[in-house]
Symmetry: C2
Subunit: 345 residues, 2 copies
């Protein structure tokens, strides 16, 4: 007897995750391939096909592949299955990745953006199980997001719904790389928190992380980048990350405690705005910030409790993601199952 | 030959609007009945039935009624067709208005909240014609709202989606009657703008409207209410309304210009947040503030243009409502048509 499975693919900027996923959302086999997107689409498709071949032979004849799904960085033309100038895939211009992959794998391929795929993964097989209206926020380099309403991913008229990281939480606030000011991801993403701590230290605030920022800035100076701008400061972000800030918060560093708490306060505002716009049953927090568990969840819930909305008892549950970095890969496989009429539809 | 029509009913706090609406959304006949909700549900149903009888006899035998729809103030139990403790309907507790009406009119009755009904009206027969993803903001006493996605009203898990007036635009901002702080409706509703102008004048800001606030406060004092609180200050709101503020803006009153511009700036932020959450084709602005036409629309669009979102060309059109105070009544009739499989589905 063979087990039917779909291939789930999460195409990132530094690695490709591939897995064979059964009809319940469980990975039967998996591969993480480090790669440089500059190798181009054709070589990337070969990389994926090779990973699939390895996983198949690993499972012998026990798995029967029925479809594939891929989550890609946006912007994209979803209907056409094309990636368009994704910032994380340098050199990929208007690439028909869905059809390239479908031809090579000889399978139908479901296609969506990475934020939506991750949200669908949690909805189908993670922290969103059991409800039909779910919002997921992935607090990482930016704030990725996905919205499921009545069991369906929300795409919107321009196919670009659920870019919740770019909702504005501070009028005329911090400049964002997207061109706006005051975006949620400047305050509540893992990178945003690290950047705000580094910036405050450079402005003279005392912190136990000061030596890390000095080291990062020295690295940046040696590499010739301006560490104080939004687009640059990469070394600082890599050295002073959300995990370092979380550790400093636990150790009682006052600067880090203040900025961490503000991140949680703005997340609570985002949750209130999600409540009054989409009215989901559950909001799921994932990504780097969510690795801190209760250190994130408790203050977000506490700030939310202060917004005592008296008109209706409709506050969503706020929970941590369950699938970690596998959410996108599992969700992409789930979209392939959904295309066959399965996956919690 | 008879024309088929549905009855559209907009149940407000001071009047009930009733109309016979044809399959294209045009009113064939209409009534506005002033009333006091304290007369209770049964007498209100009789009032509506009497208006319907008048309109029928006015049209002779030319109209054939096929259904009815009613938009009511929330909160409500939509599935059960019940109004639950609506603030605008004092004394109405858990009233099965849908079924009361259906029995009296001997017709099926569609039921939704007033904000959703107004949004559906504009979508079907007003400024939302031609697109399937529309958000409506009604800038009046508060900010009412409705969301249509893929031609369907969004209700959410708790049936309370699209309460956009209570999305937060200022962290720790002005107190709102809902229990939160910094809600959009404190800054961008007709009442909110009037209240902010009155409050600034009381704090000593110069304005050509100062004499109106003094008069209003004297009235309030005579009536024994505290004009400076959110819940009270009713006389001030009635005398210093959005129309008076708009007139002062046109005449160059600096205080009014500043507060009006901030109202438009926060509306632009709300539009950005709608763009990145729901990604509609169009956002429609209605209600008292929208009576000012270009005085509202131009600065909202200008503030929106400053938020130069570089990642995707997906900014919704921002337009003025077309149906004015008829939107709710027409939308309620549209929901009755929709229940029969018509109305732009």
């Amino acid at each position: 007897m063979t087990t039917p499975a779909t291939i789930g693919i999460d195409l990132g900027g530094t690695n490709v995750k591939t897995a064979l996923i059964d009809a319940n959302g469980s990975p039967l086999s998996r591969r993480v391939s480090q790669y440089d997107p500059a190798i181009g689409p054709d070589a990337t498709v070969e990389l994926i096909a090779a990973a699939v071949d390895e996983m198949r032979s690993e499972r012998g004849d026990s798995v029967h592949l029925v479809g594939a799904g891929i989550g890609c960085p946006g912007p994209m033309d979803r209907a056409a299955g094309r990636v368009i100038n994704a910032a994380n895939l340098p050199g990929w211009h208007d690439v028909p990745i869905r059809d390239l992959l479908s031809r090579r794998l000889e399978l139908p391929v479901a296609f969506d953006n990475d934020g939506n795929a991750a949200a669908f993964g949690e909805y189908w097989a993670g922290a969103g199980r059991g409800v039909q209206d779910v919002v997921m926020l992935t607090l990482g380099t930016g704030v990725g997001a996905g919205v499921i309403l009545a069991g369906q991913l929300l795409h919107g008229h321009f196919d670009n719904a659920a870019e919740l990281g770019h909702t504005i939480v501070v009028a005329d606030g911090l400049a964002c790389g997207c061109g706006q000011k005051g975006c949620l991801e400047q305050y509540s993403s893992a990178s945003g928190v690290a950047r705000r701590v580094a910036s405050a230290i450079r402005s003279g605030s005392a912190s136990t992380l000061a030596h890390l920022v000095e080291r990062a800035d020295a690295n940046d100076a040696a590499a010739g980048v301006d560490a104080t701008t939004v687009a640059d400061g990469l070394a600082a972000a890599a050295i002073v990350d959300a995990a370092a800030v979380a550790e400093a918060v636990r150790a009682g560093d006052e600067l880090c405690m203040r900025i961490w708490d503000e991140a949680c306060m703005y997340l609570a505002i985002a949750c209130v705005n999600i409540q009054h716009t989409l009215n989901p049953a559950r909001v799921i927090l994932g990504g780097g910030m969510a690795q801190s568990g209760a250190l994130l969840l408790d203050p977000v819930r506490a700030h939310l409790a202060k917004q005592t909305w008296k008109l209706h008892n409709d506050q969503p549950e706020i929970v941590l993601a369950e699938l970690g970095y596998d959410a996108g890969m599992i969700g992409a496989a789930g979209l392939a199952w959904r295309a066959r009429g399965a996956a919690g539809g």
